[in-house]
Structure formats: structure tokens, C-alpha cells
């Protein structure tokens, strides 16, 4: 535990230096504060953005008051879209990937289509998604699920196809076939690769949610920073961006924990 705190301390060194340089540059007035406000201004804005607008008036539950700040509402909106979109995209990619990985027939059937659609970035679907789904959550969730779909699909296919033949031989020798072979041998052997895909997929979903909110939704972190631009609130833009970064970090830490748990059997994770 002691070591973990030390690691965190070392990890904070570079961000702290960056903030220090930022402070230095703005303190001496070397840049226009409209373009780059001081870290203190951003921090003030961030707290203001975080806290509820009015003091607690006794109406309703105090928890719902505590979470009524704009930042928390935005962050929850963005996270909701990421989670729903990701679950949808990954939920469709996983079975298709397993089928394409396990069956040469399914692979031949779908591979060309996948390879044609995959290079089209999800951002390119924005016009079409708005034509199809209008504004609000539906187009955003569509775009996010698209962004999560392909990384999970490609890694699942690769994971299943690259299962070490020795495991298959050993399992056949023990009498495994059909569903047992698939669920107890092929699937677990493919999990490291699938999880790598999930991680990339979540990352992509996070990028896409911000873009989608900038164009199609009227709340969420992406919407808020693009709204702030219209009023030249650069402090709020940066406060929003820092929030996006922190959320991304939190997701990554959570994914890391999940990885370590699910892959506790995996070589190279002894530490």
C-alpha cells in the first residue's frame, strides 16, 4: 500500500509540473487570458460548475440537491451514453466475433463486409445518424456503439482464431467437443484478446460521445464545452476538458482492475 501511494505521488509529478508552467505563463501575462485563463481561474470555474446553483432549500432529498450541479449532470449524461452505447456495440460485436472466429464459414460470409465498414470512422456517420435518429440520445448512442463495435469485433475474432492448438489438442484428448470445447476452452483462451478489444472499444466510445454531444445533444460534457466556446468561456472549456480527462482516467483504472481480476491466471500478471 505504501508503494502504491509512492507510485501515485511519482505519477502526479508530471501533471503538477505542467500546471506550474501553465501558472507561470499566465501569471506573467504572456498570453491573452481569453485564450488561456490561469489554472486558478479554471479551478474556480470547475468548483462553481461542480456545485449546485442554489443553496439547499429543504425541498427534495439532499442527495439530489448535491448532484444537481451542472458538471455532475453533464458527466452523468455522458457516462450514461458511453455505457449504453458501449453495451450495445460490444453486445453485438461479441457474438458475431465469436462466430466469425470459430467458424470459417461465418468468417468468409462477413469478413469483406466488416473490412469495408470498419475503416469508416464513426464520426463520418454523424450526418446519417442525425437523418435517421434526429437529435438527442439516439444518434449519440448509435455513434458510440458503432465506435465500440469494431475494436471488440476484431479482437474477438483474433482471440478465437489464435487459440493455441495445444489447448485444443489437450481438450480433445480429454473428450471435449461442441459447446464444452467452446465455453470452457476456446472462450477463456480468447479472453485476453477480447479484453484488449473492450479496452480500445471503451476508449473509442469515449471519444465518440464527446463529438456526438457537440453536434446532436444539448447536455453532456461535449455539449458543454462547445456551448462554452460560443460565449468565449475558455475557463469553462478547460474545466470541461479536465473533467473528460479525469473520467477517462477513472474508466481506465476500473478497466485495469477488471483486467487483473479476469486475467489473474494469465502469465505476466504475477506482480
Amino acid at each position: 500500500m505504501k508503494l502504491a501511494w509512492r507510485d501515485i505521488g511519482v505519477g502526479l509529478l508530471a501533471p503538477a509540473t505542467l500546471v506550474l508552467v501553465w501558472h507561470f505563463v499566465t501569471y506573467h501575462g504572456w498570453v491573452n487570458p481569453q485564450a488561456l485563463p490561469s489554472p486558478e481561474a479554471v479551478a474556480r470555474k470547475w468548483v462553481e460548475y461542480l456545485l449546485p446553483l442554489q443553496p439547499y432549500d429543504g425541498n427534495g432529498h439532499w442527495l439530489s440537491w448535491a448532484f444537481s450541479g451542472e458538471l455532475i449532470q453533464d458527466a452523468m449524461g455522458s457516462m450514461f451514453r458511453v455505457l449504453v452505447g458501449f453495451a450495445l456495440g460490444a453486445g453485438l460485436a461479441l457474438p458475431l466475433g465469436l462466430a466469425m472466429g470459430a467458424s470459417a464459414h461465418a468468417y468468409r460470409l462477413f469478413n469483406v463486409l466488416v473490412q469495408i465498414i470498419r475503416p469508416v470512422p464513426p464520426i463520418a456517420y454523424i450526418p446519417l445518424s442525425m437523418l435517421w435518429f434526429g437529435l438527442g440520445n439516439p444518434p449519440a448512442i448509435f455513434l458510440i456503439s458503432l465506435g465500440a463495435f469494431f475494436p471488440v469485433l476484431i479482437n474477438t475474432i483474433a482471440g478465437v482464431r489464435q487459440v493455441d492448438g495445444i489447448y485444443l489438442r489437450a481438450a480433445r484428448n480429454l473428450g471435449a467437443s461442441g459447446p464444452t470445447m467452446f465455453l470452457r476452452v476456446i472462450l477463456p483462451a480468447a479472453v485476453p484478446s477480447i479484453l484488449a478489444g473492450v479496452r480500445i472499444g471503451i476508449g473509442t466510445a469515449f471519444i465518440v460521445v464527446i463529438v456526438a454531444e457537440m453536434v446532436a445533444v444539448n447536455n453532456g460534457l461535449g455539449f458543454r464545452i462547445s456551448e462554452a466556446r460560443e460565449y468565449f468561456w475558455s475557463d469553462k472549456i478547460i474545466a470541461g476538458m479536465i473533467t473528460i480527462g479525469l473520467l477517462g482516467l477513472a474508466i481506465d483504472v476500473a478497466m485495469d482492475r477488471l483486467n487483473n481480476y479476469l486475467l489473474r491466471w494469465h502469465r505476466g500478471l504475477e506482480s
Binding site: 495445444i166 489447448y167 489438442r169 489437450a170 481438450a171 480433445r172 484428448n173 480429454l174 473428450g175 471435449a176 464444452t180 470452457r184 476452452v185 477463456p188 483462451a189 479472453v191 489473474r264 491466471w265 494469465h266 502469465r267 504475477e270
Partner: protein, 262 residues
């Protein structure tokens, strides 16, 4: 039906168009015999074992095990691999239990069998470990327990101790002999170690390098546990060494020729 437990009849195996890995192999292995297939790498001993296991059917000829023609791999011919081939996502106990679950054995019975086997192979304390946390010797113990769980009368072993250090190796050899004498299984054991073959086997089948044929088929008539420093052990070692070296030389010449062509 003949008395042989495993019968290899006129087995040949050709890879591609020209590599004759096995040529007209005939072997009759009686029940309970411990047979070592010995030869340099490339002599087709593993190919023969894989054919008996059912992984790679021969190009011609037939293999009959326990009265039935071998068509595909199965738990009636349990195999121990050189690379251990444990499932890394399963604990030691789960690895041993897997074959029994496939068989559909009731849970309580599986637990009892696994417990017994873990004890037989001194693995009780490693029950809940994953294979990555075990040494090579321990992993191979798990692999042996996994095959013993199948309770098959035939056990196939493909250079199972090849990657282990000398002490661990001797230790496992002794353990294998103890298990074999208790359970009376028919064992086919592939090795390129002459000493290992003499230490373990009732019978040593020396194979030739391409095409793979039976060069010599020797019964080892020495009481166990055998003393590797005994004169008759050394005499046999010298004799077999001569035979294996001839084949090794052919292998070597072949490689030189292939390099010259490049």
C-alpha cells in the same frame, strides 16, 4: 481378437509429397507394458504417438487400441504433452476435474477423485493455484493427474520430462514408475534420452531417421528400480547409444545436404 492391447499394423505417414515420417510400422504392445519409443529428433516417434492418440491419422495402415480401431482422440488414450498443455485459466483442481466433468461424473465423485489424485501426486497444497504459479515439475504432475483422472487403460506420453532439470526429472520418473506399477497401465513413452528409456521401459523401440521404421525392438530385463551405474545398465546404454548415434548422423547429414542445396 489378438492379445495385444495396442496393435500398430503397417502404419505409414507421409507429409506433403516426399517426407516419409513413418514407413510400415508394426508393433504389438501387450496390456500393461511400458514401452519407450527412442530416437533422434525427426525419427517420427512423436508422429507415431500422435497417430496412436488419434490426432493425426496415418496415411496407410491401421491402429487398434483396446480392441477398437483408433479414429479420433479421446479420453480412453490419455496423453501427457511435453508442453504440459494445462489450461492456464483453470486452477490445478479444475484442470484435474475437467475430464471428469466432460464425462458427466457427479460432483461429489469428481471432488473425491480429484482429492485422491492430488494426494497421489503431492499436489494437495497447490489445489487452488493457477498453472503459471507452478514450476515445470509441478505442472507436469498436474498433467499426469489430469490424465490419471480419466482412468484410461492406456497412457501416452510425449517427451513429458524433456523440459525438466535432471533432479526433478528423476523424481518424476520414479513417481511415474510407482503409479504405473500400481495401476498397471499400458504406457507408450516418447523420449530421445537413452538413459531415460532404459530407466523406465519394459521394452525399447529404437526408430530410424526418415523414413521412420523400427530399427531395433529390445526387451529390458532388469529389476526396478534400476541403477544407472550398474554394468548391465551401461552395457545397454552403450548398445543403444550406438544405434541412436547412427540415426543422429543420418539426420545430421540430411541437414547438411539441405543447407548445401539452399
Amino acid at each position: 481378437m489378438s492379445a495385444a492391447h495396442i496393435e500398430v499394423k503397417g502404419v505409414s505417414k507421409v507429409f506433403g509429397t516426399s517426407v516419409v515420417a513413418l514407413q510400415d510400422i508394426n508393433l504389438e504392445i501387450p496390456r500393461g507394458q511400458f514401452v519407450c519409443l527412442l530416437g533422434p529428433s525427426g525419427c517420427g516417434k512423436s508422429t507415431l504417438l500422435n497417430a496412436i492418440a488419434g490426432f493425426a491419422p496415418p496415411s496407410s495402415g491401421s491402429i487398434i487400441a483396446d480392441g477398437k480401431p483408433v479414429a479420433e482422440p479421446g479420453p480412453e488414450r490419455g496423453m501427457v504433452f511435453q508442453e504440459y498443455a494445462l489450461f492456464p485459466w483453470m486452477t490445478v483442481a479444475d484442470n484435474v476435474a475437467f475430464g471428469l466433468e466432460i464425462k458427466g461424473m457427479p460432483k461429489a465423485q469428481i471432488d473425491a477423485t480429484v482429492e485422491r489424485l492430488l494426494k497421489t501426486l503431492s499436489l494437495q497444497d497447490f489445489r487452488n493455484r493457477f498453472p503459471k504459479d507452478l514450476s515445470g515439475g509441478m505442472r507436469q504432475r498436474v498433467a499426469i493427474a489430469r490424465v490419471l483422472a480419466l482412468d484410461s487403460p492406456i497412457m501416452l506420453m510425449d517427451e513429458p520430462f524433456g523440459a525438466l532439470d535432471a533432479l526433478t526429472r528423476r523424481n518424476l520418473q520414479d513417481e511415474l514408475l510407482r503409479i504405473w506399477s500400481e495401476l498397471k497401465k499400458t504406457i507408450i513413452f516418447v523420449t530421445h534420452s537413452i538413459e531415460e528409456a532404459i530407466y523406465l521401459a519394459d521394452r525399447i523401440v529404437v526408430m530410424t531417421y526418415r523414413p521412420g521404421t523400427v530399427k531395433r525392438d529390445i526387451l529390458v530385463d532388469m529389476p526396478r528400480l534400476r541403477d544407472p551405474s550398474a554394468p548391465e545398465f551401461n552395457a545397454l546404454k552403450r548398445e543403444l547409444g550406438q544405434l541412436v548415434m547412427e540415426e543422429q548422423q543420418r539426420h545430421h547429414n540430411d541437414e547438411l545436404r539441405a543447407a548445401a542445396v539452399d
